[in-house]
């Protein structure tokens, strides 16, 4: 093979490799960290929710986003990985917020009901 051909081939390979790198050149460290954070958030939400119904849908959504984020990392799609990870994290937060809200509301309702009962009882109790 003549020299120029080898050279142009090298250039061609180099160029295409460069294109490949910029196009889907893997995922940045920042994105990886974001994906890891979202995984932590999902796991924490799972632990916090337990079997609570409130927030369960959002937690499932967070899990779905997280697995999409993982796929995007595998596909070396930095932007999508970051977006899915962000959405996973936010949905995990939302599920926890919903479950906290639900238990606070339940406690408030129970307390109000107990006050109601107490009032009725003390009003009913005759002064003998």
């Amino acid at each position: 093979m003549s020299m120029p051909l080898t050279r142009s081939l090298t250039i061609a390979i180099g160029a295409s490799a460069l294109t490949l790198l910029t196009a889907c050149g893997g995922v940045t460290e920042m994105t990886r960290q974001q994906v890891a954070r979202s995984e932590t958030a999902v796991n924490q939400a799972q632990a916090s929710l337990g079997t609570s119904e409130a927030g369960a849908i959002e937690l499932q959504q967070a899990k779905n986003y997280f697995s999409q984020a993982q796929k995007a990392v595998e596909a070396k799609d930095d932007v999508q990985a970051q977006r899915y990870a962000n959405q996973a994290e936010l949905n995990a937060q939302l599920s926890v917020a919903k479950s906290h809200k639900a238990s606070a509301r339940k406690a408030a309702d129970e307390l109000l009901a107990s006050i109601q009962t107490l009032r009725q009882e003390t009003n009913r109790a005759p002064a003998q």
Binding site: R83, N86, Q87, L90, N91, Q93, L94, A97, K98, H100, K101, A104, R105, A107, A108, L111, L112, S114, I115, L118, R119, T122, A125, A127, Q128
Partner: protein
């Protein structure tokens, strides 16, 4: 044939353009949602409990709106809008949680208040009950002594030499029983006494039997046995001289001694 090709090509091109860029004619659902709920949480008086989420929501919504203006990519707009909407939802949940907790705090103090009212009412009722017993005893001419209020049931209320109560005692016993039932904290000590006629043993037995029969009469009228104790004191505690009939009659008696609550002021037996 060639025309068909062209049409397909044109359609594909249009699809590509619509798919990857330019402002769509259709409204973006995520953006509509974000536009509706972000201002809601911003205007909540409790927005402070979710300040970070509210401000993140606003930033993302502004960015989505700006892209919409400039004809940005639908996917980008959709993403920013969903970040805005989710943050607003989180803020909303936190606001509702704060609201519930405020209700709990308010409810706690309300509960305390209701309980305090109930206690106060109970205390007033107890005072009323106590005063009704005081009143009864006053009406029945109970005497205030250092042993407590002493009510004397005279000899005439018993059959001679026997422990059976005569019907004449019933009205008094009814009133005492009512008053004692209303105030379960009051205690009464029933003491039987005799004159010095007859043997000591007989007098002791008679005084015991008379005290017991007053006790059982009160219990038959619903007074708790815990409130009553009864004993015979025989002839040893005369209140008048045994030398004449009038004095002896005064000595033949049953005394009911009312003590304050169960504060250990139970009357000494001697």
């Amino acid at each position: 044939m060639k025309r068909t090709h062209n049409i397909i090509l044109a359609a594909a091109l249009a699809a590509a353009i619509a798919g990857c860029s330019s402002t769509p004619e259709q409204p973006i659902a995520e953006l509509e949602t974000a536009r509706a709920i972000v201002p809601q949480v911003e205007s909540s008086p409790r927005a402070g409990v979710a300040a970070q989420n509210v401000s993140d929501a606003r930033k993302a919504l502004d960015s989505a709106n700006a892209m919409m203006e400039k004809g940005g990519k639908v996917d980008d707009i959709r993403y920013e809008a969903s970040i805005a909407a989710t943050n607003a939802q989180i803020a909303n949940e936190k606001i509702l949680e704060a609201q519930a907790k405020e209700e709990i705090a308010k409810g706690e103090s309300e509960r305390q208040q209701v309980l305090a009212e109930a206690r106060e009412r109970e205390a007033v009722a107890a005072r009323d009950r106590a005063s009704s017993l005081e009143q009864e005893l006053k009406d029945l001419k109970a005497k205030k002594t250092d042993r407590g209020l002493v009510l004397t049931l005279g000899d005439v209320l018993f059959d001679t030499g026997k422990a059976t109560l005569k019907p004449g005692a019933f009205a008094t016993l009814d009133r005492l029983a009512n008053a004692l039932r209303e105030d379960p904290s009051r205690r009464v000590v029933i003491e039987g006494h005799t004159d010095n006629t007859g043997s000591d043993e007989f007098n002791q037995q008679l005084s015991e039997n008379r005290a017991m029969s007053v006790q059982s009469a009160l219990m038959q009228r619903g007074v708790s046995g815990d409130q009553i104790s009864a004993m015979g004191k025989g002839e040893g505690y005369p209140v008048a001289s045994n030398d004449n009939a009038a004095g002896r009659q005064q000595n033949r008696r049953v005394e009911l001694i009312f003590t304050e609550d169960n504060s250990g002021q139970r009357v000494a037996t001697d």
